[in-house]
Each structure stands twice: as structure tokens, then as C-alpha cells.
């Protein structure tokens, strides 16, 4: 028998078919309904913007890998997902050069600067959105009206809530339209239905669990609900808060980002509650109409601490066990 060329590695010698690519491309697939909806609502400019975001994200990823002398990872799907999320977070009429800046901030300044995939502390798409919001507040808060031919703009329902109060806000959009997405907002904030469809796919594939979305949306619901009951004249109903703004997008697609969320159940619950409470507080009394991005970024900062807490608990339990032996 002629000799076979044997290779030695370590067990196990079979692996599941999952890979970083399969995870990322499935997330991208889950974002497809919302992206398609955005093109339906806001026209070709939405499509061009999405393509620009994705292309610039992949481009910057390739560039940063070259600069850092790492193997090329631009096609592993993480840049694609970041690009999709950036597009879903900005108004459809945002100038493309601002989108490219956002991509740069997301990929270079908040992902590679921390060490690349797996090492970043803050959600890159959200860092980009907040950066753009603070740098270009006017461009980032003039929302196109759906189906308008010449990009008529108006404030989003949450924006109206902040500036003109509840009466005007409730008048600006019907809850039904809010759910299906016929309202002003960023590309991804609009259609709750499309987002939930995508989230259902991720839940089915078990890439995310319901812990963070439920605790986050639940705490927003309860917190705004309490104040709505106290003073329905000033505060909007919790259902209004759920269908407007980026709450569903943030809860299912940004807060659940694997790299920047806690791994343990206790950590995830605290994380979700914190995101929800901060979102509610900023929306009700903060200077900005929308609080989801800030809330998630602030809680991202606590994730290493939550992980460290779990590790020290595990250490303490283990040391106690070895002492009692």
C-alpha cells in the first residue's frame, strides 16, 4: 500500500458548517427586508446610499488590514453588515461624502483601532451614527418624507414630540403607518414590520436570543408607560415609542451585536435594562429626540465590566469550592 501523506492536528476533526461568514451573511439577510422597504419608501437615493455605505466599509476594511499587515478580511461579512447598519441609521438624503466619513469612523476608528473584529468595545455603526449626528446635526435630522419625488423633508415623529409636544407628534403619524413604516425617519427606523421579520430569521438561526431585545423594549415600554399613565397630556403612549424611532432596529440588530454585548444571561439582562432605561430617559427629558444610539453606546462601555464581574464570581465560587475540599 502506498503511503498516504498524513497531517496531524488536534481533535475534534469535524466541525459545524458555521463560520464567521455564515453568521455575518445571515445577519445581512435579516437586514434585507428593512433595506428593501427603505428603497420602496425613499426611492433610488436610498439604494445608492446603501451601496455607497457598503462599498466604503469594505474598502476601508481592506485598507486597514493592509496598513496593519493582517490577512485580508474585508469579505468576511462584518464590513457588509456595518455598511448596511450605517445606511439604515441615516436619512435617505444624506450626502454621500458624509456616508463615507461615517464608514471610515465605523471601520477604522472604532473597530480596527481596538484591534479589529472581536476586539471592539463599541458598536461601530452606532459610533458612526453618533459621530455624524454631532458633526452634521442639520443634515442628520432632516428626514425625507416617504414617496416624495423631490426629497421633501420634515422632522421625524420623535423630533416633533421633542419640539412641538405630544399633540403634534400624534398627529404626524398614525400608529399603523408607524408599524408598517410609512413615516419619516432614517432608512431603518421606519418599518417595524420588516425589522421584526428579519429579527425572526436571526432568532430561528439562534444567532441572537430574545433576552436583550425583550429587556430593552420592555423597559422602554414600562418606563414610558408609567409616565404616560401619570400625565397622558405630556407624554406619548408606550406603543408610540415602540413604533417610532430606532428602538426596534437598535434592540434587535445593534444591542444584540455579539462582539459588543455580554455573554452571560445576567449580563445581558442588565445590559438590556440599561439600554432601555437610558433610551427612555433621553427621549423623555434629554436634549436629543432619539436616545437609542447613545443608550447602547453607553452600555457597550459597561460590557467589559459585566464580563469581569462574571469572571470574578466564577473565580470566587471556584476558590470557595477548593477551600472546602
Amino acid at each position: 500500500m502506498e503511503s498516504v501523506k498524513l497531517k496531524v492536528s488536534y481533535a475534534p476533526f469535524v466541525r459545524s458548517k458555521d463560520s464567521i461568514e455564515s453568521v455575518m451573511y445571515n445577519v445581512a439577510l435579516a437586514l434585507a427586508p428593512a433595506t428593501i422597504m427603505s428603497v420602496y419608501l425613499f426611492g433610488m437615493s436610498a439604494l445608492i446610499l446603501t451601496v455607497a455605505a457598503i462599498a466604503s466599509c469594505i474598502g476601508f476594511e481592506w485598507l486597514m488590514d493592509k496598513v496593519r499587515k493582517k490577512p485580508a478580511s474585508c469579505l468576511d461579512g462584518s464590513a457588509l453588515v456595518t455598511g448596511l447598519l450605517i445606511a439604515l441609521n441615516v436619512p435617505a438624503n444624506l450626502p454621500l461624502w458624509m456616508v463615507v466619513i461615517g464608514s471610515f469612523i465605523a471601520i477604522a476608528a472604532s473597530k480596527h483601532v481596538f484591534g479589529g473584529l472581536g476586539y471592539n468595545v463599541f458598536n461601530p455603526a452606532l459610533v458612526a451614527r453618533v459621530f455624524l449626528l454631532i458633526s452634521f446635526p442639520a443634515a442628520m435630522t432632516s428626514w425625507p418624507v416617504p414617496f416624495s419625488v423631490d426629497m421633501q423633508t420634515a422632522a421625524s415623529p420623535l423630533g416633533i414630540l421633542k419640539t412641538d409636544g405630544i399633540g403634534a407628534a400624534m398627529a404626524s403619524v398614525s400608529l399603523q403607518n408607524g408599524f408598517f413604516g410609512i413615516m419619516n425617519g432614517s432608512l431603518g427606523e421606519t418599518s417595524t414590520l420588516a425589522l421584526l421579520a428579519g429579527a425572526a430569521w436571526l432568532l430561528f438561526k439562534r444567532y441572537i436570543t430574545l433576552t436583550i431585545p425583550l429587556t430593552m423594549i420592555g423597559s422602554v415600554f414600562i418606563f414610558t408607560g408609567i409616565f404616560y399613565l401619570i400625565d397622558p397630556g405630556t407624554y406619548a403612549s408606550p406603543v408610540f415609542h415602540m413604533v417610532t424611532g430606532g428602538l426596534v432596529l437598535g434592540a434587535f440588530f445593534m444591542a444584540t451585536d455579539m462582539v459588543t454585548s455580554p455573554i452571560s444571561m445576567r449580563g445581558q439582562i442588565i445590559f438590556g435594562l440599561g439600554c432601555g432605561l437610558l433610551t427612555a430617559v433621553i427621549r423623555l427629558w434629554g436634549g436629543y429626540p432619539e436616545g437609542v444610539s447613545f443608550a447602547i453606546l453607553i452600555m457597550n462601555g459597561f460590557v467589559p465590566l459585566l464580563d469581569r464581574w462574571d469572571q470574578s464570581d466564577r473565580k470566587a465560587k471556584h476558590q470557595k469550592k477548593s477551600e472546602t475540599k
Binding site: 497531517k7 496531524v8 488536534y10
Partner: protein, 279 residues
């Protein structure tokens, strides 16, 4: 025109800075740790690498114990005799001469001389490889050649060349960190001598098995033992070793060693050996 907002901003921030500075000054004075100035002096002379070769976990602790006990037998192998002199001068005692030692690799089986087993595609680390199998080389006493020891060297004295670790005898300080990093025990410490012969093989396999596994292995043929006039070579379990105290570096053993690549070496530097052979 200085704008109206300028003066209040400067004064308020300046006041805050001043207050914080005073607090820091007070705290540094109140919580100051008294340190023996001699210890600080000694610590500054020491190399500051915290390698542990002296037996203490850090240079700081070495300094403390030395000042406390004034034990002249304590030595820092990294600093050598120059350091011993300086320490002695500072403390007013005569420090013992440190016995310099150097790490030595008892293997010459590089990619050209050692026969392979199967290609290794696991974690590229010697300890990790031994968990999977004997290693990419047939000889189980060989240097596995994945460089676990190199990661432990604080002095950049080691490098991988052609599947074998090479130690720079001028940079090696004898700190012994690499010894614990080697899973096969093929790295040993030897006294640093100007001229030293040693047998660069660690294989306790019988002669025929050694030859099958590697061209550069000691087959315990005993030719070197017979020709040595100083009784400096001993054979133990099919491996010859040169007893350093008795060796006069006459070179007769090298002339009679029959292995294809001479396993008796003078330098611990593969390049020097190859050049000598070439000339």
C-alpha cells in the same frame, strides 16, 4: 477685546486646577511610602528586567533582600561581574563572582538532518504539539522547532533557523526562563566558558534508531571516549556527554566523530559551526 466669557472661564478652571493640585500634593505627602534610599540606589543599578534568574521574582525584591542581609553570595547572572563590582562598591562589601551560565540546545536536528513524521497543523507551539504527537521530527528527544522558548526570552537571544532554535551566546544572560518553556528538556544551562565542547544531542535511543531518525545524532559508538586523554567523555544510556570540568578543549574527539554532521560542537552558534565545516 477680551470677550466677557473669557475671564470667568479662565478663573474658574484655574481655581479648579489649583485646588486639585493642592489636593494631589497633600495626598502624596500623607500617603508617602518610606523607602530605604540604599534600596532605591541598588535597584537603579540592577538591570530591571525582572527575569527571576537570581531566584527572586523581581529586581526590586533582590535589592531589598540584598540591602537587608548584605549576603555577598547573592548574584545577578544578567549583570555579570561588572554589576557584582558595582554592587560591592555601593554596599561596601566584596560580592562573590557570579558564575555566568548560558543556555545550550542539545540538538542539531534541523530540517536538513532530522527525518520528519507527519506535517503538523495544530497550534504552532512546542507544548501544544507534544499534546498531539511526538512532533514534526521523528526523534522524540529533538528540538520540536516551533519556538515556544523564544517567546519566553526577554533578551532576544533566541531565533528559529531551519527548524532549530539558535541561541546567541553573547546575548544570552543565563536567566533560565527558556528552560521551563521547553517540553522535551533539550535546552539546558551550562557554565559559560570561552572555549567549550559539548555534544549537541539528547537522544537516548539506541545507535541504529538514532541514525534512522537523524543524521546528526549521537550513536554512542564510543570513538570519542577512546580517544579522549582526559577521561572527559562519559556514555549514559546510548548518549555521550562531555564532562566540562575535565575537558581541555584539545579537539581530538571532533576529528574521530563519525556522524555525518558532527554532533560535537564548540560554539553554540550554528552559523559558526557551518562556517568551520565549510572551511
Amino acid at each position: 477685546m477680551i470677550s466677557e466669557a473669557f475671564i470667568p472661564a479662565v478663573t474658574s478652571l484655574g481655581a479648579v486646577a489649583l485646588a486639585l493640585g493642592l489636593i494631589i500634593h497633600y495626598v502624596s505627602k500623607k500617603f508617602h511610602v518610606e523607602e530605604d534610599p540604599t534600596v532605591t540606589l541598588i535597584n537603579d543599578i540592577l538591570p530591571g528586567v525582572n527575569c527571576g534568574a537570581c531566584g527572586y521574582p523581581s529586581c526590586g525584591q533582590f535589592a531589598e533582600v540584598l540591602v537587608e542581609t548584605k549576603d555577598s553570595s547573592m548574584s545577578c547572572p544578567v549583570g555579570g561581574s561588572d554589576l557584582a563590582e558595582k554592587l560591592g562598591q555601593t554596599l561596601g562589601i566584596t560580592m562573590a563572582e557570579p558564575k555566568p551560565q548560558i543556555a545550550v540546545l542539545l540538538c542539531q536536528g534541523d530540517n536538513d538532518t532530522a527525518r520528519e513524521t507527519a506535517e503538523y497543523l495544530g497550534i504552532q507551539d512546542c507544548w501544544a504539539a507534544t499534546q498531539a504527537y511526538v512532533g514534526p521530527k521523528q526523534c522524540r528527544y529533538s528540538c520540536i522547532g516551533l519556538g515556544s522558548c523564544i517567546a519566553f526570552c526577554d533578551f532576544d537571544a533566541m531565533r528559529l533557523e531551519n527548524g532549530l532554535v539558535v541561541i546567541d551566546k553573547d546575548l544570552c544572560t543565563g536567566c533560565e526562563a527558556c528552560i521551563s518553556a521547553c517540553p522535551t528538556g533539550v535546552l539546558v544551562m551550562q557554565e559559560k566558558k570561552a572555549e567549550r565542547y559539548f555534544i549537541a544531542c539528547n537522544s537516548h535511543d539506541k545507535g541504529a534508531a538514532t541514525k534512522k531518525a537523524c543524521d546528526a545524532g549521537c550513536i554512542a559508538c564510543q570513538k570519542c571516549v577512546k580517544v579522549c586523554e582526559d577521561d572527559a567523555i562519559v556514555i549514559d544510556r546510548f548518549l555521550a556527554t562531555i564532562v566540562q570540568e575535565k575537558c581541555t578543549a584539545c579537539g581530538k574527539c571532533i576529528e574521530v566523530c563519525p556522524t555525518k554532521v558532527n554532533c560535537i560542537r564548540l560554539e553554540n552558534d550554528l552559523q559558526a559551526v557551518k562556517q568551520k565545516k565549510a572551511s
